[in-house]
Symmetry: C5
């Protein structure tokens, strides 16, 4: 459930670190920043500067950062409000993008979602991770080690890499959900306990959550492919189109999942009915066989004075024969009805 | 259920007070008005005038107000007809907007809805609250205490604050519904009584009601962001876009709620079936164990004269052994079927 | 169910009266016409002429009327074919509009639908009521008594009043359906008999019927607001927009009704399951308590010769104690399971 | 189920006759043609020529016909492929239209579908009926007898008459389905046997089949009303718009049918549950009344030596009184629960 | 389930052969190529060159091929990523198209899907089959034997033939699913075992899979009919439109299938309920007949000392008469209720 949180009070995660990577094809500098004021030196460098915030600064510090990089107060509110839906806003001097990342919380076995805000100018990318995660680590690694395309190109390509890392975190979830669905498919057919239903419910909710994040993300990426921003060069559009294809693929997979889930639910409900039928058959067979027999035993337990059969020599053995015939006929009848 | 009410007779709430706030950056005046005629003095002031009606004036008084501020008779009908769907009408000299507020009626534990009509001219905002509520109190407070943006800007910014207050009243409902849904989620899984079903029904209806109010509200706000009205300045568009984002967020949350509700219903229905299965198993197990035993007891209660077993020394103890074997076998059988 | 009826044979209602009202601001004349030929005199009057047909003329008479007022043969076919969906056709010299009215048939407790055809020229409105109803009576009344707007304005305003009367007849149905739904809501929760299901089915059909009439009606009215017809003056557009708002409101209410109906159906189905559970619990409780007890009674009814308990002094009283203990334990067990 | 059939082998119906009608306002000639080659004489006549094929020619003959009238090989393939969806293709020199007719197969009580292909040039219409049916007979009759509009106008009007005949065959189906639905509605409420379900399934399939034919047909007719073909004169557009209205009406009726069918299914399923409840009530009532009584009888059938009641003078009559009180109490209890 | 596969590691199928067919109207050469480098000779031939890869080359070899034919690195990634959704990309110098083929895996009785990538330049078509299948064999055969249209026309017509072969592979699946549906339809009505449900689930998944492949395929083909690529000549557009019609037909058939499947599921669920009713009726009939009789037998098994009936001469025969009357009345009662 998304909630609107007061943008001025209590952000969900405190700032736990600021990493600045400053690079071009020949130059590379990575350092951790402690004082917000130190960021000012990166404002006008001709190199590409990537400032990554793990956790969110409080509103005062964010205001300072905003002043340094010319970020509009409304954008600052958006960065702090972590309950937003993904969106992209053209603020003329910079692009503001809010997207969601997913990770799996091991303890609660639940899918967690966190917001990543990007402020993209011509010379710098500011990334705000609600949870100081590992999503962007491979990019840092690549920047350190290779002097390839990533070091040659500008903030638009860096943005592409960041968004690509975000979408990759979706594929992890997509795969996990896919695996769970397959497990569930077997259990629904083999051993449909009530737990299965809760698992179906959970998967349905997770699928919906991902879809609700990817639908607006697709629009965000689509806007970047339309080549209207000064900081997105024509060459980079191809790369954003690649991410666009990925988001479409995630959406299709999730929609297929919804079909599968709804089909599994039908099977589950139906198998509950089938088991009920099985139970009722057992009861009916037992009752139908023993009720006439018990009645007959009751008859010969009566105490009438004039009761010819009681005296009869072969009465008892005849009783058993009659009872067995009744049982056999009943069993035969149920066989023909395919209940046994 | 919305109903078309006679616009000439019986409005749902009588007028209980008129508050006029007249302000610009330096000047602030707040007073309660008793006679409609006194409003005429505010007609042409260069300051921003906000006239708030708690409850609706009767049609005669409203006609007088209309005459003073140049409001079209059709708009007057719209103000009185509180069963409308939210809409915005461009009346050239003013904008007419009708929106809904929500509040929770403590006694009946039901969500109530009330209409707020806004008439926005270049120098004045007339707000008509069907229920003289507390929705706009924080704005009055802010106008009194601060000389900030709200005092510097015109009727468009005041309109933004009013609509923002309305949308905030939605978030309260959204949160309440979200909390109820979570409670329900636990109860559906843990203790699915028939009450749960009624609660689901109620939440479904509330979700639908909110959606039916927010969908047209989104269009109302969207129209205000398209910068076509003389009284909405270009700078204010950003603020209306902020509200627009909020309405989209409410819509998404409500649509997610609908998914959750429909999933809960499936779980509820299925758990009803599961309990039925449990009940039937108990009955079947009992019947299947005792029916053969009762039959056997019946057999040895028969009064046949020639009945060899009856004379037998160990007959009684053998009977109990047989009966216990039958019971154990049956229990063993049900264990294997996982019914016990 | 709509059916295509032969346009040449058997209209559903015979012509039972023609009323002509001829008026302008100063002049008013109302009379009943017996001979079709007499209508010719109203053809070229500068006053506004409203000719109302209660019931439909047969095709010959309609052809005559068509000749007098220049109505195209296809329009004549449309007037006679009462199974049409609402539509508006621009025939250059006149506008043809077909709409539906609703009324409640007291005897069968069913909603009935009837067609009203309007032929609107610059100086005359011909209205054909399939059922000579009371829908237009208030308008006649107003024309007779007031010299207000309705007498000053032309055929477009008269058309507005006629369509408004038609839409008002919808609101009656909307309200009736709303009341029935509320009644049903109580019954579904309180006393869900199979009758409820039939009532739900009926309401669903009625809701669908109204929607299928209002959807095209909305388009009809929308066309009139687009100000493209020579006989619809710019000033009148506002009035048609008012009707347009009403149709949208009816559609929304009906769609909300559909949601409610589908929710009620879920509750109904679920409460059927719940009652089944109740029934099964009673059966299971009874069987589970009495089966062991009956078995025990059967045991001591056996006729074994060597049967130690039978001789025992306190056997009988012990039997009752045992039986009561069994019963109490069972009841205790079911209490814990919350079945009692 | 539609299948793609090999266009070169085995058409579904062999050619069984070719009828040529050649006419203008004053001239009329109708004859049966045996040799394909004879058709060549009709190629350039200034009169309107309608060549009707009952059954489909084999691909060789069709190639010959194509050569005579300048029909493109792809159109020839389309004529032979009877599994197509309705479509209209502008082939510059002629229009190709493929539509479906429906008829009711008496033996199997199933709705059958057949394809009609039309090739419309300025001077000739070639109609290919997959099944040599009676659909077009009334048009032949009219051409023979009347010298009215149909004889005065060109191939566009003839096309209108042919399509109108096709749509009329739909109305027959629509009516039949409507009648069946009404019958079903009564049976679902009165006597819901499993047969009802099969009937619902069949009606659902038929409704879908018709919809899937009418949706593309609507587009076909819509294209003809847009007045873009040289062989469709402006005057004829009105007539095609008439057919267009009919197709819309069929679609609406069918969609209403789908609503009704889905509502009937809900009633059916629910009434199955209701009957189950009835059955369970009978069982529970019987068991609950007789189980305690049987237990009591069992008690007094015990053979304890010390058994005070057995000696008692009024024991037997007291037993019956007790038993009757138990029964009455139980019945009273079920009455209050409204099970009896 | 689609998954994003690492494009650099492990393609799903290794390259098992490269066949080059080089032809124009008079010239034909077909040969198997072993060394990638040999492909360079075909780069600039004026003849049409079709290079077919059975299985996918590894990324190094593919890079070489890309260099020879000027294929963009992103296209190369796309060829290797076999989990894509069908798409068409205009790469200026060539068109890249990815489509899916279907075949039926005999062992697992499951539908399998494989990707085919096409790179279309003015003089060459490169086709990459994920599975070295038989889909394109008929085209090779035709190229070898005939000098008709296929040899006269360019790469656009060859592309048409390749896509047509792909779509034909869909029709095989469509037919198979259609046959299975018909079988299932009979079984659901005749013998609705739980297996039926699994079969329904499987068919539903297969239908969805095909739809998810054909929807984007339709867009791919649609793009080719819009005549915007330099390598697609105006004359060829008609042929692509033919394929477009086929894809629409497949989509319609699949959507009809979904309707049928959902209808079958309803029948299945309902027939489960019906069988439950049957079972419960048997149980209820048996219990209702024998419970009163057993009670009566119990009564006369009681040991009261004062028990007048026991002494009575005709007691025993009267007992049987009473018991038979009870049974007959019960049977009569159930007959009237139509349970027997």
């Amino acid at each position: 459930m998304m909630k609107k949180e007061d943008s001025d009070s209590g952000t969900s995660a405190e700032l736990s670190g600021i990493t600045v990577i400053d690079y071009d094809e020949k130059y590379f500098d990575e350092r951790d920043i402690e004082r917000i004021e130190d960021l000012a030196t990166y404002r006008l460098t001709p190199t590409v500067t990537w400032i990554n915030f793990r956790g969110l600064p409080d509103s005062d510090n964010l205001a300072k950062i905003g002043e340094i990089f010319g970020i509009h107060p409304l954008t600052i509110e958006d960065i702090l409000n972590t309950g937003q839906r993904p969106k992209l806003e053209d603020m003329v001097d910079y692009i503001y993008a809010a997207v969601k990342t997913f990770h799996f919380h091991e303890k609660s076995h639940r899918m967690m979602t966190a917001q990543v805000s990007l402020v993209i100018t011509r010379q710098a990318v500011l990334s705000f991770e609600e949870e100081g995660g590992v999503v962007f680590e491979p990019i840092r690694e690549k920047l350190r080690k290779y002097r390839g395309r990533i070091r040659r190109m500008g903030t638009d390509y860096l943005t592409y890499r960041l968004l690509d890392a975000v979408v990759d975190s979706y594929f992890d979830m997509v795969e996990k959900i896919g695996d769970n669905l397959e497990l569930l498919e077997d259990r629904v057919v083999g051993n449909p306990t009530p737990d299965v239903l809760k698992a179906i419910h959970l998967l349905r909710m997770e699928t919906t959550t991902i879809l609700r994040s990817v639908w607006p993300l697709r629009e965000v990426v689509s806007a970047l492919t339309h080549d209207e921003f000064p900081m997105v060069k024509r060459d980079s559009v191809t790369y954003f189109r690649d991410i666009y294809d990925h988001t479409v693929q995630i959406i299709e997979t999730m929609e297929t999942n919804r079909d599968i889930i709804s089909s599994l639910l039908d099977i589950y409900l139906s198998s509950t009915s089938n088991r009920m039928n099985e139970i009722m058959k057992v009861l009916t067979v037992i009752a139908t066989i023993f009720m006439p027999m018990t009645f007959l035993a009751g008859v010969y337990g009566m105490n009438f004075k004039y009761f010819p059969e009681l005296e009869w020599r072969w009465a008892y053995i005849s009783f058993w024969i009659a009872v067995i015939i009744i049982a056999v006929l009943m069993i035969f009848y149920f066989r023909r009805k395919k209940w046994l």
